[in-house]
Symmetry: C2
């Protein structure tokens, strides 16, 4: 492992949090167990005076009741932070130090974005910019959290402006009163506390598109923007944990390993499990395909023999993408979908 | 500061999480923003087959409907982890590395404990032992999370077996279906996922009472058990944060500083604020006294001049306890209620 985590990294880890991996047992992650990353502060929002502005060839201004009166869609969506796995990279890029837990699946209910863009008039727009109410300083610039999406991605049917999570109004920390949900994309896309949507004739040159969330090896490189989630599978660590080390102990015999797998690129079509640290692999049993943007459950009957074992699982999607054994390194520490390893001591 | 945080500490920080300090704006902390510490894993609980056993001179066995049919009380209770502030100690005791955020206030609804103990028959009991369904290894011993309370503390009117948090069934991570709530005491007292309550004729010698959660300077010392929360005040960091450092920037002029203060020993009767790192202090305005076990809001009108400032607040309770400037050190890193400091750059 790397040198120790700094105080600054710890400050972020104390505020933001992952999903404890035993919560993989829930197809829909309960609020409070879903991962959370907030760049700045949760902003103060007064729902009565809050309005959404949508600016194209004309400006639409909508309050929450008007948004709720529009056609509604509810989708189960798996969302993962682009920085998940960052703290496992060497050298470790310094930012929110995620291990493996920056993921969750929620039922998001909201109104489709496309009709609103059409009503505002798209003209020659090439991108759609989403601005949240959260303000801070990043890369030396004072800014609201803002991120733009190429027009063709913003127009996809599954893109929502969500006002409910798991059947209740959005909690403050998940973007109350309204957030963008772009199924299949990494978390930074899903702008929280939305106040403004703008159709842009030129690509947006703001921090979160041009500096942050790009795959690059050096500061000089332009790099490619992060977009869709790479495939990943995680398993529920079996047995019981040691408080401090989180090392696992399980009893010998039949152990039902369970986990979930997802990819933002194409449906998951295979999960394999290894009990020897990735030397040999065997197929897991996939649950029936569920909703298209949610993770897919799997299980594997493991005959646990006394001794030390290293459990792994890996996902493959229909586009042929598969998790690597070793993490791909990049400057921002993004999209590390290397295979999880879980050490287990099996007692006789 | 200390040497870097270890991978093991980071693993705990990624699972457990504090309350982002801007959430001090809520008198009742929304679920998901309340702090959370789970020693082992969130256990699997089937509510239909779950039963609570209460064992005194006789055994009572109750299901959730029977508990909900008993007299109900709802209390707003501020709860803080005994390890809050641990990561600010030097040398740093190695455990969950809390900075300042391990706190929250919820509305807990449940049935008073005392009548159940009386129905079970207390005989010559001296302590009451609470056992949760969560299992793990700690101090080399496999165990369920178990903690005992002296009988006289267990019999207090405000001690509840809670099945609701903020008007909804307990979330899994806060102890579904039932947890103990002992207002005024540090978090470890409030055993989650309760399955068994036992009246004991001898003091309990289990890990969480005898080894953990004691104030001591060395391993050899017996030490005193943690019980009630020491006074503490926290303020909402003003202005806006830098993403990575969390350093604050605010504009010159009138700034309304706000925070909340609590003590488990006696009601808070004074909060003072300093804008010069604790050299000079001025009284904050306290909100009217609210519910007896919940924190008390306060505000302070600060005239922010351009430059660098260090904001602090400190609470005093009616018993005369006051927050220290320097943290008290102990082996477990408990009860560090030293004054918070918030650095702010004020721009003209």
């Amino acid at each position: 492992m790397n040198e120790g985590i700094s105080l600054e990294e710890l400050q972020l880890a104390a505020r933001n949090h992952g999903m404890p991996l035993e919560a993989l047992r829930y197809a829909i992650t309960p609020v409070g167990l879903h991962y959370l990353l907030i760049h700045y502060d949760v902003p103060v929002v007064e729902p009565e005076s809050w309005r959404l502005s949508v600016r194209g060839e004309r400006e639409l201004v909508l309050d929450l009741d008007e948004l709720r009166a529009r056609p509604a869609v509810e989708l189960a969506v798996t969302m993962e932070c682009a920085g998940n796995g960052r703290a496992k990279l060497e050298p470790r890029p310094v930012s929110q130090p995620w291990l493996l837990e920056a993921v969750g699946t929620a039922r998001w209910r909201g109104t489709p974005l496309r009709p609103l863009l059409e009503e505002a008039g798209m003209g020659d727009a090439v991108e759609v910019l989403f601005t949240g109410l959260d303000r801070g300083v990043e890369g030396g610039e004072e800014q609201a959290f803002q991120r733009a999406l190429p027009l063709e991605d913003a127009l996809r049917d599954e893109v929502l402006l969500a006002y409910e999570m798991n059947g209740a109004p959005l909690p403050p920390q998940h973007g109350f009163p309204l957030r963008l949900v772009v199924p299949g994309w990494y978390g930074m896309t899903n702008v929280k506390w939305l106040e403004r949507i703008e159709l842009l004739d030129e690509p947006f040159a703001g921090f979160q598109n041009v500096m942050g969330y790009r795959l690059r090896q050096t500061e000089d490189e332009e790099g490619d923007p992060l977009s869709r989630m790479q495939p990943r599978s995680l398993l529920i660590p079996p047995g019981i944990p040691e408080f401090m080390t989180r090392d696992r102990t399980a009893s010998a015999g039949q152990v039902l390993l369970q986990g979930r797998a997802w990819s933002g690129i194409a449906p998951v079509d295979a999960v394999e499990v290894s009990a020897d640290g990735g030397v040999t692999w065997a197929p897991a049993e996939l649950e029936p395909e569920g909703e298209p943007w949610a993770w897919r459950g799997w299980s594997f009957r493991w005959t646990a023999e006394p001794g030390e074992h290293v459990l792994c699982s890996r996902a493959r999607d229909e586009a042929g993408n598969e998790q690597p054994a070793e993490p791909p390194w990049n400057l921002g520490g993004y999209a590390n979908n290397a295979v999880q390893t879980v050490r287990v001591t099996v007692t006789g």
